[in-house]
Symmetry: C2
Subunit: 330 residues, 2 copies
């Protein structure tokens, strides 16, 4: 059993590779819900949507989000009604939001709604929201505090970032199955997602970070940073705002209290060498995922790294409980 912590488009790409590299039935995904938003009165969970679309083969690979071949006529009509249109929900995509919103309105939890949707779409991997509690990623900028989607989609991450917090995290609980999946996993993979706003909210849910400290499976993270820049999106700006360098060292630092293996791009071979001196196992491979084959190859490589580390009987790295709580703000 493999457990994957994931969020964002990098996470979705990696999961697209993973489903080609191993039986979907053996994958449990713990998905960021910090980006969830009420949109047109509907509950939208962008990362759960992307993962569900990837796993059902529906994801638009061109856009990296939403349903392939989708149209946007409802969006256009909402614009004519004077409603906001900056968050692009396609006509086919709306079905997901309508069904989930109805299930939630009927009293189902986000976990239960996610399971219903997964079953309807024939998804064989297990998709778990990080929490059924509302945890909201809030980005503090000079123009005020924004939700993640406001910062990222509406404003094209153009605003300087003072800090990031995860509102509601203090009182949140991991969704059913999350702690158990981490405990039972033979290996735990941190997808090449933004460490601050895709993986950060997951780690901010009380109990999840502690479960990683106790995990018996090797924990490997794929770096979303190559050289001194993120492969895509605002990870660099957000890491800087949280006091982390935008480099593989910064990624290692974000996960330092539980990470066994950092997987980085071959272009970071020199930085990897330096990082190994800290005692961290660092593996280099081709991490840029352009084609379906790139994705599958990276997933196979990641699986092989954790598996060889396990076979090598590496001593577990000491797992610190004195980690920097990037997520400690209320």
């Amino acid at each position: 059993m493999i457990c994957v912590l994931t969020g964002g488009t990098g996470g979705a790409k990696f999961v697209d590779g993973l489903r080609q590299a191993m039986p979907a039935e053996e994958i449990t995904l713990i998905v960021n819900t910090g980006d969830d938003l009420l949109w047109w009165g509907l509950y939208v969970s962008p990362d759960i949507d992307s993962i569900t679309y990837v796993l059902s083969g529906m994801l638009s690979r061109e856009r990296g989000w939403g349903v392939k071949g989708d149209t946007f006529l409802c969006l256009q009509a909402m614009g004519q009604l004077g409603e906001p249109t900056w968050f692009h929900t396609g006509d086919r995509d709306l079905a997901m939001h309508l069904l989930r919103s109805r299930l939630l309105a009927e009293g189902k939890t986000l976990s239960e709604a996610t399971t219903v949707v997964s079953e309807k779409l024939g998804v064989k991997a297990r998709v778990l929201p990080m929490s059924n509690s509302r945890v909201e990623t809030r980005v503090d900028t000079p123009i005020g505090e924004l939700s993640f989607e406001e910062y990222f989609v509406q404003r094209w991450y153009q605003d300087p970032v003072n800090s990031v917090r995860f509102a509601g995290a203090t009182d949140a609980e991991p969704a059913p199955g999350v702690i158990e999946a981490i405990a039972a996993a033979d290996a735990i993979l941190i997808a090449p997602s933004n460490p601050i706003t895709s993986i950060g909210p997951i780690l901010a849910v009380p109990g999840i970070r502690e479960a990683l400290h106790r995990a018996h499976g090797k924990i490997a993270a794929i770096s979303p940073i190559v050289g001194n820049a993120p492969v895509a999106g605002p990870a660099g700006i957000l890491m800087a705002a949280q006091g982390l360098p935008c480099s593989i060292a910064g990624v290692a630092q974000a996960y330092e209290d539980f990470l066994d293996i950092l997987i980085c791009d071959t272009r970071d071979a020199r930085a990897a060498e330096a990082l190994r001196k800290s005692g961290l196992r660092v593996e280099c491979t081709q991490t840029i995922m352009r084609s379906a084959e790139d994705k599958a190859t990276l997933a196979r490589e990641a699986l092989s790294f954790v598996s060889s580390a396990s076979l090598a009987g590496d001593e577990p790295r000491p797992r610190s409980t004195a980690f920097r709580r990037l997520d400690s703000q209320p």
Copy 2:
């Protein structure tokens, strides 16, 4: 000022003519909401939608409902998710339901939500739901009691009908402005709508029928029945179930306690002659609306009939309070 009681596709067609025949600002529409339903968790008000689409020039004249040129990709996707698809909501049409549902969820009344939508779409006529209370048309059939849309759309009105009732009507109140619009109207037109399930629910709201009894404006109904058959839909079956003949006499009977003028098709000239003996003013004209011109002509004719009756200074017909309460069931 003209006040129109309307519902269904016949009503929408007539209103399409009326907006060509007179300034929209001078029309108040009192619209049936007995067909309203929760669909995919959204509040859908089919008759308010049709009237709003007619008045904003968005109605699909081919279908007689929904938005012209609409697509149905969300519907298709909902089918793939195992959700019901018998009620056809187009992708553009969904915007209306999403906006209204959000406004209602925010605590607005149906009247307020209707006004917001009207303003957004530049509708100049005044569109009033008959009531902000939930009044549900229920059709009793051998397979059980159905909502109107289940009976009409899902099951193609194939079931024998035992009776019709308007659940919730006893406790309902007319929406703000309804009673005032009837009182202030120079003429009141009953659209060529199904008397039982389109106009019936409006008349079932306590106070509306009484307001018609007190109205100073002439009240004219356009018959939706030509010969012994409805122009479209299940009006004949439903009238029979309520003990009314399927004829212009049946229409006159449905409205006997307040009707001044019945406008029927020229093909009903003989039946009209017979009906006049009861003292009712009966006018014959071309009532079948195929083209935009047909609709405008019928509207102009109807306006001219009420206007000449007013000028003729016809004595108001005695308005009975001893009418058959087709709507008296709880």
